[in-house]
């Protein structure tokens, strides 16, 4: 193979066809309220860890929907379980349980 000094650039486009529906249903059976998230961002706004590292439950849920579960786990790595997100979620999601469920469902990858 010839090296031309430049090559193909990987596409950063999300391909929704790659979404793992089965695994998501597994997550939803553990924590049904994951479906209720409306990406308002309240959780991320108050997140303790989010001030110092890339931690965001909203983004993690979005990553899961977009077929990027490893990125989702990375977003939740520094969670301290302080409970501030549960306090503010307007849809009443038990965010603590959701974070634990995400780690459980996708963590074995």
């Amino acid at each position: 193979m010839v090296d031309f000094g430049f090559g193909l650039v990987p596409s950063s486009r999300i391909n929704l066809d790659l979404f793992d529906k089965e695994r998501y249903e597994e997550l939803a059976s553990m924590e049904p309220d994951v479906r209720k998230c409306m990406s308002c961002g309240s959780c991320t706004a108050v997140c303790t860890a989010g001030k110092y590292s890339a931690t965001s439950l909203r983004e993690a849920i979005e990553c899961i929907h977009n077929g990027q579960p490893d990125k989702a786990l990375g977003m939740l790595k520094s969670c301290q379980f302080c409970g501030k997100c549960t306090m503010v979620c307007p849809r009443g999601i038990n965010t603590r349980h959701l974070i634990l469920s995400i780690n459980k469902t996708y963590g074995e990858l």
């Binding site: 486009r13 999300i14 209720k36 409306m38 909203r58 990553c63 849809r91």
Partner: protein, 351 residues
């Protein structure tokens, strides 16, 4: 001697105003351009937020118009103002001396084929919200063939400078959520996506619809406008949008794409309005005397407006508007023709 009221447009606003004015004792003449009364309501299947039958709703509106003289397949041919009334010649040859004119000419649906990038009328699997309601009424559409992945595009022809309409059409978001749930009911294994710019679910129980769509039906709402639709080799659609929440472009393969065509000012209504020199605002809908306290009066004395002729409205808004117009007309006619005698028709109705 009774006053005549001419009502132009036989949709929900026209029907409701007709029945109210008839009950108040006026001589109501209702004209409708097409072959049947009911306007767009006659084409819908189920109404949001609770899914009541459009057929039943229309039936109940039609049930109250006994005594109203109505003419279908009839348009206004010419109209000119006399001292206190309007001399109207209809296309069926009948002349009406109208003491008040109520314009309930409604709206037109945006022609989705004008948004070329969506390929309506070019790609087989692209349909509009109106097509989908027709599908639910009739039970079949060759374009809908056991779809496994369904997409809804909000704001087609609305909030779009290129399409010539900057304003929001008010009802399409609620319609999209309703139709998404209905599709999930019809095809439980399908994945349903709603591509929106902003979700406008302002009314009573609308937020509950949204919550139910997510929690009970697993519908995915993606904030990002669909910008390009193309066809794959197998006939499925490739749809490009951005997931603005994730800040990344995305593509999806879908078996069906439903375009939420928005509301436009009625072209035939505008024609009648121009005969009366009724002013029109930048958005194309008729001007009212004052937007907050006189929303049913046009700037010209004796001409009233109700329904979507003055801007996008939901059905409850339209019916309330029509009833308000009836009261305003009653007030006006009692004022201008104090010697005319109108006796209310009693309507026995259980509460």
């Amino acid at each position: 001697m009774k006053n005549n009221v001419l009502i132009v447009g036989g949709g929900p606003a026209g029907l409701e105003a007709s029945s109210q004015l008839q009950r108040l004792g006026y001589n109501v003449i209702l004209i409708e351009r097409s072959t049947a009364l009911g306007g767009h309501l006659a084409k819908w299947d189920r109404l949001f937020p609770s899914g009541v039958s459009a057929r039943e709703t229309l039936k109940s509106l039609m049930g109250h118009i006994e005594g109203v003289k109505y003419f279908t397949d009839t348009e206004v041919q010419s109209i000119n103002r006399l001292e206190k009334s309007y001399n109207v010649i209809l296309s069926n040859g009948i002349t009406v001396l109208a003491d008040a004119v109520l314009m309930t000419t409604g709206f037109d649906l945006f022609k989705a084929s004008r948004k070329e990038e969506y390929g309506y009328g070019i790609y087989n699997r692209v349909i509009t919200n109106a097509d989908l309601e027709a599908y639910f009424r009739n039970g079949s559409d060759p374009r809908i063939d056991n779809p496994k992945r369904i997409g809804f595009v909000h704001c087609v022809g609305s909030r779009d400078e290129k399409a010539g309409c900057r304003s929001c059409s008010k009802v399409c978001c609620a319609t999209a959520v309703k139709q998404a749930m209905e599709m999930k009911q019809a095809f439980p294994d399908a994945d349903v996506f709603c591509f929106y710019m902003d979700l406008r679910l302002f009314g009573r129980h609308y937020e509950d619809m949204y919550l139910s769509a997510q929690r009970d039906y697993g519908i995915r709402f993606i904030r990002g406008r669909v910008a390009e639709v193309a066809e794959n080799a197998d006939g499925s659609l490739q749809v490009k949008a951005e997931d603005t929440v994730a800040s990344k472009p995305l593509k999806a393969s879908l078996d069906l794409l439903v375009l939420m065509a928005g509301m436009r000012p009625s072209v035939s209504g505008r024609r009648v309005g121009d005969l009366l020199e009724m002013p029109v605002e930048e958005d194309g809908y008729f001007s009212v005397k004052e937007g907050i306290v006189s929303g049913q009066k046009s700037p010209h004395p004796g001409i009233f407006l109700a329904g979507a002729a003055t801007g996008p409205k939901t059905l409850p808004d339209t019916l309330a508007d029509a009833r308000a117009a009836a009261v305003m007309i009653d007030q006006y006619l009692s004022d201008v023709f104090p010697e005319a005698k109108h006796y209310k028709n009693l309507v026995r109705e259980l509460w």
